[in-house]
Symmetry: D2
Subunit: 407 residues, 4 copies
């Protein structure tokens, strides 16, 4: 439980109060009676960092159905299962410029992306399972792993969705006729209706988002739920298609990959940093939680969470350069060495500072403080070493943990 007096919690509480004081007209979804009974005044936010800190304010233990938010996470499960090539053969990754329940398919017969209904249904069909029950069981387990706790289904909502779900059945049937769907329509849509009826609170979806923010590792449980590449791909699709035909506006104003649900929830992700969940049932004209959108816009602006915000320059990977007596130059590196970091080292050794390019004949590259290195960074450093040797300098690698592999 977050400490009530925690200053982050107080900030979130203040944002809720600010947004509540503004005018954000909306209407609770009423296409099924269960949704229409939601309390329009319920309002909550949770944030979960990739380090495992969680904060919450408002009605953060109120449960609601996950609805379309599930689409992003089932997509991640399916990418893990089959790989991006197999999945994109069936579902595109392009914003459609159309509403969530649009019937259009792309010129390859694929739904435009996994976040419109047609694409979500095809995505659900790719979850292995011999029946709707098996398929759903697997989805429930997968989404529970994202949330870090056992989620359950609101069967009344699922039944009501099924009773009014002809349009989704039609989309499934269209997908079958175009070849994007190969499973029996009823099996798939029944699993889909139950997937959408999973019950979550804002902290659940914040943790789900944080799992994507943290490359697929659930910060609450420490479990790797999906591989890093899947987290990356899922965030990409959320960034371009997550808010339907307002996705461009959302990326411009809020700048976080996100996905909303008709139950009033929205998950947003600050990659590498946070998952954020908001909840307020009244929806705006395009079907996103009106107060939820306003809350995330405020958070993004006030807390600098926009993807393209003034970015902090990462600390230089070069911790220190010491010129020792006798002309030996010692370069100490630290932290994670990726291409960006390795390029800085390469540049440094090639062009300066004066001391390094100079008469020095011996270079010591000390990577004791390096925690990890990407393949490309290691290769680049190997090139640097080779280059220095060509220039007639003596190069020594200090790498007690063997984190990098320079031949």
């Amino acid at each position: 439980m977050p400490h009530p007096g925690n200053p982050v919690t107080r900030s979130l509480t203040r944002v809720l109060a600010d947004v509540r004081a503004q005018d954000h007209p909306g209407r609770v979804a009423d296409y099924i009676p269960e949704l229409s009974r939601a309390d329009p005044e319920a309002f909550a936010i949770s944030a979960a960092s990739v380090s495992g800190h969680t904060y919450a304010a408002g009605d953060s233990t109120t449960l609601f159905t996950i609805q379309s938010i599930s689409k992003a996470f089932v997509y991640a499960l399916v990418l893990s299962e089959h790989g991006a090539d197999a999945v994109t053969a069936r579902v595109g990754v392009e914003p459609s410029g159309e509403a969530f329940n649009a019937v259009s398919f792309d010129d390859r017969g694929r739904p435009h992306n996994p976040l419109v209904n047609a694409g979500a249904i095809v995505t659900t069909s790719l979850v292995p399972g011999a029946s709707a029950e098996e398929r759903f069981a697997r989805i429930r387990r997968g989404l529970s792993a994202f949330a870090g706790r056992d989620l359950d289904c609101d069967e009344t909502v699922a039944a009501s969705e099924s009773a009014t779900g002809d349009r989704n059945r039609a989309l499934a049937m269209l997908a079958r006729s175009s070849g994007a769907l190969t499973e029996p329509v009823d099996d798939v849509v029944e699993a889909y209706f139950r997937q959408c009826a999973l019950r979550v609170d804002t902290t659940d979806i914040a943790v789900m988002g944080a799992t994507l923010a943290g490359d697929g590792i659930n910060p609450r449980t420490g479990e790797r739920v999906v591989p890093p590449a899947v987290a990356r791909d899922t965030l990409s699709v959320m960034a371009s298609c997550g808010m339907y035909d307002r996705s461009g506006q959302w990326l411009f104003e809020v700048g976080m990959p996100a996905k909303s649900g008709v139950g009033g929830g929205i998950v947003a992700v600050a990659p590498g940093e946070y998952g954020i969940g908001v909840f307020s049932p009244p929806l705006d004209a395009v079907g996103n939680s009106a107060r939820g959108v306003a809350t995330l816009r405020t958070l993004s602006q006030e807390f600098g969470l926009h993807l393209f915000r003034h970015p902090e320059r990462p600390a230089s990977p070069v911790q220190a350069i010491d010129v020792e007596p006798g002309g030996t130059v010692v370069i100490r590196l630290r932290g994670m060495l990726d291409f960006v970091a390795a390029e800085q080292v390469a540049h440094l050794t090639a062009y300066g500072p004066e001391t390094t390019a100079d008469a020095t004949t011996r270079v010591v590259l000390d990577v004791s403080a390096v925690t990890a290195s990407t393949r490309v960074a290691a290769r680049l450093l190997a090139d640097v070493a080779a280059e220095l040797r060509l220039q007639g300098r003596d190069i020594v690698l200090v790498d007690p943990d063997g984190v990098i592999d320079i031949a």
Copy 2:
């Protein structure tokens, strides 16, 4: 000039060779004779880091016309001039799902975004200027500031574009009829044709991209060309709309805000890190440089430049926690303090480690090594200090440079 034997340069050279060896069919644009005369074998790449390092391989000094790449940078100039609200009142920020020269406008009568022709023309109309000449002069100065050198216009290309430019005139006229354009059509489109005919090489567009990557500061000249918020907004639109109706696919595969031009150039941006320019005249079916796309896809994968790649955890802002004899806890912070960093400090002081939450009565917050702080981080730290005082602890701020302002 980059050192030929530089290992980064060698990497780029190898990527060019790899892509050249693959089959990427394309056709040089031939709607005007000037473009059709481009050498189909010309192929180049340049990269410019926000620290001012530049690398290049291939025909990186070959000049070509900037064409639609200019749209992103003129948009940035116009955002600087009028602010985002005034500009988005005239041009949307939503991908249109349509071709670059589509005639559709949104339901508010705006072109969908500044990177389709209609939107680019409206954007150019927002550049102050009493005539096509004045408008163009201002654009040329602005784009030269982005490139860090004086760009000039290929007047033959501009004249030829003008001679065949009826569709663009029609788009301008449509924008006038919808109210998005208020300037005389001919003044605007003539400036637009000349803007598109500015001559650049790959290093120019790499530096232009690096200027956006670096929050608006040109890494070559050190000049602030646009404010950070404008760089952020421009990158947002490039991310969602930059590659026309393949923007979602591009974000998925390459994950860098980008913009292509019919002359064969593409600029891509790794925010906070690099601008990259590629050039190869033959275009694929949707009008992007075929080899250029392949090159950037390879670079992104090999060098880990995808926006949502496995992100490096930033170094902790907490440099050290020392428990001094007598129970005084000294927390030393460093680097840039933003919300993410401040939240870590807040969490630390609230929940642990043992030593801090303990019987200590005195906390020293040493920010001597902090280089800057955002407003929200400062506020959060102030809250932390207030909280600690409420808990009866003595708190001391060590801030010799006054970088943060805790009341």
Copy 3:
């Protein structure tokens, strides 16, 4: 059997030979194996006049499946059953500008018209029947009444259509979700697949067309199959929507309400005159029989069957005007008196000739030779009589059969 040496038959035979000698490339439908086995060289034409004359040339006894041609006639049956208001509440009458299997519905949730698949399926759903079997039985009886002989279903084709019919099921499901369809999807589409698999030859469809041409009376059997208003409404929809997204071109060039089927048949109607059936399996790019289209174009031009051709002025309804000794004017009318005819009489009596407007005091209106009168014509003649009386003339109606009712 038409007399082989009949000159009309010889004309039709010549048209077939002319068209066969021309190049009209096409492809036999192959989405189900049964259709792909059609003989591409089969070629036939039949014409049936509203007087009951039939002519035929080519393979006019070869049976083929009626396919989409059935849509027009089932629409007529449904209009008869429920009236135009009830039917147009569910299916529009507007050309959609789209392909036959388009998924779009109008802004009232209706399929655009009954001749695209979605609209045809909704139309079939309006045929009364507690099951697919009952519904189909009724359709079969109705279409047999149009053809004047008992049609049967090619059950192999129907089964194959059903096996590949997911898109039609999807259209049905979409129609359910928009409220246009209220019956169970499977019941409706199975009836629809069998309706499309009814076997006909060109003479059958010519007679079906002649039944519409003759206001709903089958010229072969003399049976009234549908009321005149239904024939009119059906022809209207065939005129505007019958040839899908080439309907305007068709009305321009051929000028006959028509409907094609993927089996290679086309029915065309010269209202008041003929039904024409053609058959040739290879289809053009938009799915109409390539030779069939060419044949009808030729027929329309050569035989003057265009709806807006130089029209014959109908014979004057005024058979004779006799001025008898003593100034009595006798006006003898004949044939069918509609508004157009009555207006001529009204004009005549009001303005001339000299003799009638003159000093005559007595007018005899002799309608012995009038075969029928519309309500509006009768009213207009009553007005004429009243007018003449107001002018102080004596008016006598000679109407032994009481065909008109002048108070």
Copy 4:
């Protein structure tokens, strides 16, 4: 002047009163001030028969600008000038399913049809003329010939249209860029604005319609304004595209080729019979005169003017068959002999009645009462004669006026 007490006039007066008593909400066009000043209560109807009778009721001498009604008649002029092939190479004949000012072109780069603005502008561009003035002068003469009196232009309206005409300029420019328009944009649109500002009353447009109804001959002046084929083609396009995206509904309900104008006028045509003009400025939601539409719907229903109404069977062309002593059969034909009539003769001589098929050896074909014959009818009769001769019968043609040419 029509006689006020004429019963047809009284019928029209009653229809106006009936429609006025109903609720047909509408709004006077106000995109230019001149149109907004129209009297919303002005209401008129005129009918002109192809025989030259005219009737009128209401404010039938009130002048209004012809606006889009002009499109149909300028199209007719252009078809006369260049022929249908040359014209349809530039402008299609397909309903677009879109609004009058839509920007879409077909896949051949043509505006969809001549009755949407883009197509009308291209049509106007095909009127010969070295300048806007020359072009307009020719249009004014042509439309005056249709109306049978000298029409003049409301220059204030034309100037106002020009001042607000950017969308039309944009459409023209788009047409230039697609190759459909080759003339200078300004020349064309200025002529177009003046064409739309020609002043007419309802009787003028009724006579214009009657000229199309009567195959191109103005019933007021007797002048042939356009050839029969042009009248046919123009009516075809009016039937499929005349009422924009309600054309299907209009053909279904009203069944007359028609064209409306934003000034409140509508022209409708009963081919072979009448032209009808109505006028009432308030427009419905799709831009057609609200009361005008209601008036024409009423007229069509009450007066049986629907294109596919229960059609009168034309009087048999066979006036009499006399079997003379000695077995000679005399067949007397009358009126206009077209294919339909000739087919009846052919059928009669081939199959009966008994008397003709019998032992008769001599047939006299008396065409003294035939007024004209089409080529195909003449050929068919020649075939009949040849057939009879083959059967060994003696055939005699009585044709004092040489109306048919039987070799």
